[in-house]
Symmetry: C2
């Protein structure tokens, strides 16, 4: 995987997390001002960092992103806002850019103030270690993790405008959880050149079909953020026309691969569940049905138990608040038809159960007879281990 | 508790359930035609019995309700509709009333046809045992259970129009669950006289604040039904004015007591959680926030673990899709203030944790600064036992 040109990165441990074998502070710096776009949580209760970035994107001139894990700077009031601004100032000073060219991301404990002395020392150390190697990438990707079991990185190279450009993304998220932890964060970098409006429009579009189509426990975080930087060091002329379309497709692949990696690493999860909903009147109808099925504890426990329980899936679809003809509904699980146009069909329950148990991935396909809109959604199963991880914690 | 006059009841075992120590068929018969009202699941996928009753209520002339457990008659197509009608015909014949005066309830397995021979023999046996004693009530209340650990009965006596009238309710539900089981059912009987329109209006109103304010796992059943019969054997003149208000209040108490009993008996649950949401612009806003908090797996696992995790509660409120000023939010847990006007406050975490662990009931109070509307909602915690019960089952 070719790294995008003109970005330097590093991740370090600065003492925010208790475990010194983890990393908890990352810096990403562009050699030149980059076009920046952002998509943020819709939660009414949002972190200081979300407020800070939302006011500064889209932008034509961002140089750096400073990220800490272990503390979310959420529910921290005015002091939290001052801390977010100070974090940007510290990163700007350490990297030799204006504080107005810095975005900030936080993830971790809710309701505690950022330990600014540790943040300051972490930023200084990371700034000294910035580099353009895969090692720099790996450490930066690890510095943003909380309860994830591994870093999440995806990349694509495409030829546009006669030049090979790179798209590279990193993400964190393992449920909105982790004892008291919350959040999915992602940063996507490219050395292509993009107009500011195009960058924001592309990001919003690809997030709709990727990060907005995943669920682990349905609990929306205060900090969810996807940032996208395009520094144009490989294609100085802003992409347009067919090149923009080619780029869009590659960006969508990166976003989808990162998004899938989050429920695939869900806390306690033993299955990544892909839910295809098709034949709806609108994409929004399909989306709402998929989300309700994805978040039903009865569907999720059935998958955990290897049970091809079509009744739970069909009845979950029924309470999504979307009008549909029940007689038009068909359901496949791992390729086997369980329910056909409103009625159960005979199937080999033992074989379907075995297919669930033997594979890490489960595929649910719900077909309606209302139209031609569809959506793909990803979720986890629900295990006793998830409950244990989230119950056995004390503030 | 005074039973309402003019009703006879019985519950029997007829072989629908595997366990012969359980009951699985109940009959409730009114000596005279009763006013009947119903409230039904909003699920687009609904059982044949729901369709049957919905077409026949409100009504001025219902004599009997036939109930079976162990089989929900849902996702059974046209044959299911014929079976529901046949069940009404059998009950009418056995009880000496017209089949058009009979309502039918089913709960249990989805997607299997009713064993009509067992239903027929159960109805015959139950009709022979109909009686007006507490024993008849107990057996009828038990015949509707699935995975409930006990029957759920509530009653009130009130003086209206110079006469003592009785309201008696029975319900089932222990989550929408039970291996493949789904549903909450309730039947409320009174010997008061009511106009048909008043009966339906009262029932709809009290259900809004009771059965519509409970959640165990958020999975809406295909069979949810509340039926209300008023046979007027104690107050022949339809209640009106102040008497109607007095009756409404007592009916609300019965419905609320029955509704609370369902999450209190939730599968695997170790806590009944009462959620008060106040200070909202509208009751609907308060309701949506309460429901999202009630259904957050992170909130529910925190209660299971005895963790006063205010961050999970406040952030759940934030994603209900309701606009509010985060700085106006305060939160109390078991009477202790954890969060005050948008900021965490210092509190004795060990003491609050102990209060959760030591009591079977947990109380969450969320105060907003948007208006004066409020709602009370009940839910369960989420335990590893819930997951085990619902995963370790094979169709």
């Amino acid at each position: 995987m070719q790294l995008p040109r003109g970005f330097r990165m590093a991740g370090v441990y600065c003492g925010i997390k208790r475990n010194p074998h983890k990393l908890d502070l990352s810096l990403i710096v562009s050699d030149v001002p980059a076009v920046a776009a952002g998509v943020y949580t819709q939660n009414r209760v949002f972190s200081a960092t979300v407020g800070y970035n939302r006011a500064r994107t889209p932008s034509g001139a961002i140089r750096a992103i400073a990220i800490n894990s272990g503390n979310s700077n959420a529910c921290t009031g005015e002091r939290g806002e001052r801390d977010a601004a100070e974090m940007a100032r510290l990163a700007g000073a350490a990297c030799g850019v204006s504080e107005h060219e810095v975005l900030v991301l936080s993830t971790g404990l809710i309701g505690e103030f950022l330990p600014m002395d540790k943040i300051a020392s972490g930023i200084r150390t990371a700034a000294e270690r910035l580099n353009v190697t895969h090692e720099g990438l790996l450490s930066a990707a690890r510095g943003m993790l909380t309860t994830d079991t591994h870093e999440k990185i995806a990349g694509r190279n495409v030829i546009v405008d006669g030049t090979s450009i790179s798209i590279l993304g990193m993400a964190k998220g393992a449920a909105m959880i982790g004892p008291n932890m919350a959040t999915m964060l992602a940063v996507i970098l490219t050395d292509a050149a993009l107009a500011v409006d195009d960058a924001q429009a592309l990001l919003s579009a690809v997030v709709d079909d990727s990060f907005n189509c995943i669920s682990v426990d349905g609990h929306m975080s205060t900090n969810d953020t996807v940032l996208f930087l395009a520094n144009g060091t490989q294609s100085r002329r802003a992409l347009a026309g067919g090149d923009l379309k080619t780029f869009h497709a590659a960006l969508a692949e990166v976003a989808t691969e990162l998004a899938r990696a989050i429920p695939a690493d869900g806390e306690g999860a033993t299955h990544l569940v892909t839910i295809d909903v098709a034949g709806c009147a609108t994409r929004q109808d399909a989306y709402r049905i998929a989300k309700v099925v994805a978040e039903s504890p009865l569907v999720k426990t059935a998958i955990a138990g290897g049970d091809p329980n079509w009744g739970r899936i069909v009845s979950a679809a029924g309470y999504a608040g979307i009008a549909f003809d029940p007689v038009g509904v068909s359901l496949d699980l791992n390729g086997t038809r369980l329910y056909e146009r409103g009625s159960p069909v005979a199937f080999d329950a033992a074989a379907v159960s075995a297919s669930i148990r033997q594979e890490r991935e489960t595929h649910i396909r719900l077909q309606f007879a209302e139209g031609s809109a569809s959506v793909r959604f990803w979720t986890t199963d629900l295990t006793a281990e998830y409950v244990r991880l989230n119950a056995d914690y004390h503030t």
